[in-house]
């Protein structure tokens, strides 16, 4: 693989909304096991077609990661661990307004997440 201009492209991500969403996610993850009712909503894609989506397992994973159940978080969706670490990081680095990341990072992350879930549910 050669590192062409496409792979060198970078994108600016503003952090305010991610910080708010991350804080809400952490609060939800800490509260969810204490609340009555189901621990998350069924994935519409998986309910309709049997095929999991890249975000499948994220409720389980984020909830487990927030309670330091690292193994369970890894098994459900490793991205949950990343999301929890990032959400904490955003709260610590509160002054940071934006970050430059490689443009391929997010699409690549979603592809890895999807492959993980497809394998977990035996679709591949």
């Amino acid at each position: 693989m050669t590192a062409g201009p496409g792979l060198r492209a970078r994108t600016t991500v503003e952090l305010h909304d991610l910080r708010v969403a991350g804080a809400a996610m952490l609060a939800g993850a800490l509260l969810l096991p204490a609340l009555p009712g189901p621990d998350g909503l069924p994935c519409p894609l998986r309910s309709l077609t049997g095929i999991p989506c890249p975000l499948c397992g994220m409720t389980t994973s984020v909830t487990a990661a927030a309670h330091f159940h690292i193994g369970a978080a890894m098994a459900a969706n490793p991205a949950g661990l990343v999301a929890v670490v990032m959400a904490v990081g955003l709260l610590v680095a509160r002054r940071r307004r934006a970050v430059d990341v490689p443009a391929w990072l997010l699409p690549a992350g979603l592809v890895v997440m999807w492959l993980w879930e497809l394998a977990r549910f035996g679709a591949i």
Binding site: V13, D17, V20, L45, C53, L55, M58
Partner: protein
């Protein structure tokens, strides 16, 4: 993102809408208000008509609600009005009309299918667009920068 100049007021010369975008928090609360409103009305239909027919009514209810109100000149559902935000055409800043409002509602379904990934997309998108914004070529903006003349208009 410091260019608050052209496009303010909307309906302009067909350029891409500049200026601020509605935040994730305000859009989330607006969606929550709309969801509760439709949910309560749909619950009544569910109790009256049964689960299957009730779900059908809920889908049509949502479709009519979002297509009409987001397609109206204000671009505001009740939730968006409460949170002082509105849907505008990404090109020119004007209203999108009922047809594209309908398309945006279909886009909402697409956005929610992979566990709502299409909604979360706005968190890292440079124009804060969800998938349904991209499908309908819209952006959601605060009314402080894009005032509403009349509701629904």
């Amino acid at each position: 993102m410091s260019d608050f100049g052209s496009g303010v007021g909307g309906g302009g010369g067909g350029g891409v809408v500049a200026g601020p975008r509605a935040s994730f928090g305000t859009r989330f609360l607006a969606a929550l208000i709309d969801g509760v409103l439709i949910g309560v009305v749909a619950l009544v239909f569910r109790l009256l008509l049964g689960a299957l027919l009730g779900s059908g009514v809920q889908l049509l209810l949502g479709l009519a609600y979002y297509a009409y109100l987001e397609g109206s000149p204000s671009g505001q559902t009740i939730g968006k009005r409460a949170m002082s935000i509105r849907v505008v055409d990404f090109n020119g800043g004007g209203p999108i009309g009922t047809g594209r409002g309908l398309l945006r509602y279909v886009g909402r379904i697409v956005s929610s299918i992979p566990c709502g990934l299409g909604y979360f997309w706005m968190l890292w998108d440079s124009e804060k667009q969800t998938w349904h914004d991209k499908i309908a070529t819209t952006v959601v903006v605060p009314t402080s920068a894009y005032p509403v003349a009349a509701w629904p208009g």
